[in-house]
């Protein structure tokens, strides 16, 4: 029997999610240990047990842990958004950032911020922006019958460029003292994301909503006609997934700005190892996306300390090569 004929070993969901869970815990531990004042695992343990020095307590509980948790949830959201969009468009290149969905959410959020509205408005406005952008991209990219990769990517890139121009315009007409902060936020920055339960709540809700749709999504990944013949209400499912993906992107953008490529890298890597069963891929993406963004943010905080990089810079450095590789491989 040659290697190609040998069945791929089945991955037990428990093993995959268990492994990712352990790595997730380690990534969170790493993130709270590293920083301007490094802490040892023992010090971290002491703080979690309610002991430890005041400094360590402040560093961990007030600064690092909230930021780490925000990073984890945001990474999970972005990876899930990417995985959902890839099924919808039947294209592994789909990602909320590449397709301009994040840009739409950023414009929405920025408009609400400039108008001095509260957090709920910022989130709602970001959702409206993400939804509008989704409708534009998916509507225009839907040529005669199916989405071709070229048409889809072109639409996404152009829409993203358009949102970029709107953002620059908004920042130019309403210069504010927070301008540098806003620019950082737009590049993807977790410095202000802390103590907010919304991303975690959204992450749990999205997984709970998407899991029962998993098998239908598996069938949808084989094309809308095939899915319809196998009894999937295609139109309704597609709209549900559009809405969920837009919602998830909006929450991720309001939490941490426009961070690119997490939704591209994570589902792709996971598919190579565990296949494309959405019932496993979606929860695994949530965990792996969280791990990636937690580690990327740790790097962004420490690499040029005491200065900080926007985490979007790190994910872009990882994501651009992966994207180009995928594009190169799909050239047939």
């Amino acid at each position: 029997m040659t290697a190609a004929l040998r069945p791929r070993p089945a991955h037990s969901p428990l093993m995959v999610l268990g492994t990712l869970g352990i790595v997730a815990a380690l990534s969170v531990l790493t993130s709270v240990m590293l920083g301007s004042v490094p802490l040892s695992p023992g010090e971290v343990r002491a703080v979690f047990l309610g002991q430890g020095s005041d400094l360590a307590r402040m560093l961990i509980l007030d600064l690092r842990l909230p930021r780490t948790l925000a990073a984890f949830a945001t990474g999970g959201l972005l990876a899930v958004a990417g995985a959902l969009m890839q099924v919808l468009l039947r294209n592994p290149l789909a990602d909320p950032y590449v397709l301009g969905i994040s840009g739409g959410a950023a414009v929405g959020a920025l408009l609400a911020m400039i108008s001095g509205l509260g957090l709920a408005w910022v989130s709602g406005s970001a959702f409206a922006g993400a939804l509008l952008s989704t409708l534009i991209v998916f509507g225009l990219a839907h040529g005669t019958g199916s989405w071709t990769p070229t048409r889809l990517l072109l639409t996404g890139v152009v829409v993203a460029a358009g949102w970029g121009a709107v953002i620059t315009f908004l920042l130019a007409v309403r210069p504010s003292p927070e301008l540098p902060g806003m620019l950082y936020w737009l590049m993807g920055d977790l410095a202000h994301a802390r103590g907010n339960a919304l991303p975690w709540l959204t992450l749990f809700v999205i997984i709970a909503l998407a899991l029962p749709l998993g098998r239908s999504l598996n069938v949808l990944a084989r094309g809308p006609l095939q899915a319809a013949v196998l009894g999937v209400p295609v139109r309704r499912l597609e709209w549900t997934v559009y809405l969920l993906a837009a919602l998830v992107t909006a929450v991720a953008v309001t939490t941490a700005g426009t961070i690119g490529f997490v939704g591209l890298i994570i589902p792709h890597m996971l598919r190579l190892v565990i296949g494309n069963d959405q019932r496993l891929l979606l929860p695994a993406s949530a965990l792996a996306g969280g791990i990636l963004l937690t580690l990327a943010d740790t790097l962004a905080r420490t690499i040029i300390a005491p200065e900080q990089l926007p985490v979007g810079v790190i994910t872009a450095m990882l994501g651009v090569p992966v994207f180009l590789f995928l594009l190169y491989r799909s050239r047939t």
């Binding site: 190609a4 004929l5 040998r6 069945p7 791929r8 890839q86 039947r90 294209n91 592994p92 029962p212 749709l213 098998r215 239908s216 598996n218 069938v219 990944a221 084989r222 094309g223 006609l225 095939q226 319809a228 013949v229 196998l230 009894g231 999937v232 209400p233 598919r271 190579l272 296949g275 494309n276 069963d277 019932r279």
Partner: protein, 260 residues
């Protein structure tokens, strides 16, 4: 007489740019195998998609177990009929076994995982299609013929009483063409299924189909029992091709006359 699996009632298929065609009026009964014959663009695929409820007809309707097809929930439709497409799309990695298993989708609830029984059905279908040895292979590595057999294995796993097949012998070598049509024939005759298939090979159609529909490019339709419909003049007009006829003990055989 047993109840019709599917009934075409004044059905006019919707082909953009074509003036209204002739209406089709016939039931598909268990034990019948309907062959669709016609040149490229005559609407064979459109008719099959209309019968599966994927397209709305221009006029008339399709009844599934007596109810208007477009009012029956998709899941219920999928439990009663299956369609093998002409082309197969594999955008994401997936194994041969996983692909056959999607045939169980209409029978599982949202939270159900596939059971051991579903796996058995899929493995048996793969064996029937000579694909058992490839169960763990990635679909994207299959040859055209293997992929076509996998599509048929998915239909076998779905196991509906009505089979709609769009050029099921596409890409298949001679042996597998006969094997697939033998299987359709056996299932239709023994399991009292119904089948509607688009075919290009006239002799295979005459051998395996109990009924034929001749579909003309101008929308004209002609249907009935194979022995009443399979006439060389009608076929020559249908394909705009001179045919030579050989009467053999197995029936009438036709072949195209080169250069005519």
């Amino acid at each position: 007489m047993s109840a019709a699996l599917l009934t075409l009632e004044g059905l006019v298929i919707d082909i953009p740019g074509r003036a209204a065609g002739m209406a089709l009026d016939f039931p598909v009964l268990p034990g019948q195998c309907w062959g669709l014959l016609g040149p490229n663009g005559a609407g064979k695929t459109t008719l099959l998609h209309t019968l599966a409820g994927l397209r709305r007809p221009r006029a008339g309707r399709v009844l599934l177990d007596g109810a208007d097809l477009h009012r029956v929930p998709r899941r219920r439709v999928a439990q009663r009929l299956g369609l093998v497409f002409q082309d197969h799309y594999d955008g994401f990695p997936s194994t041969v076994l996983e692909t056959a298993l999607i045939g169980r989708h209409p029978f599982l609830r949202a939270w159900n995982m596939e059971t051991a029984e579903d796996h058995d059905l899929a493995r048996r279908a793969l064996r029937q299609m000579d694909l058992a040895a490839l169960a763990g292979r990635q679909v994207q590595t299959l040859s055209g013929g293997e992929r076509q057999r996998l599509a048929l294995a998915t239909l076998l796993t779905q196991d509906p009483p009505l089979w709609l097949l769009d050029e099921p012998t596409n890409h298949l070598d001679l042996h597998h063409q006969v094997a697939v049509l033998d299987l359709v024939h056996q299932e239709v005759a023994a399991q009292r299924r119904g089948a509607v298939l688009a075919l290009h090979d006239l002799n295979l159609a005459a051998t395996y189909c109990t009924h034929l529909v001749l579909m003309y490019p101008d929308g004209g339709m002609c249907w009935g029992l194979t022995e009443e419909i399979f006439h060389v003049q009608a076929l020559e007009r249908l394909f705009q091709q001179k045919l030579a006829v050989m009467d053999t003990p197995q029936g009438t055989w036709v072949r195209p006359v080169p250069g005519a």
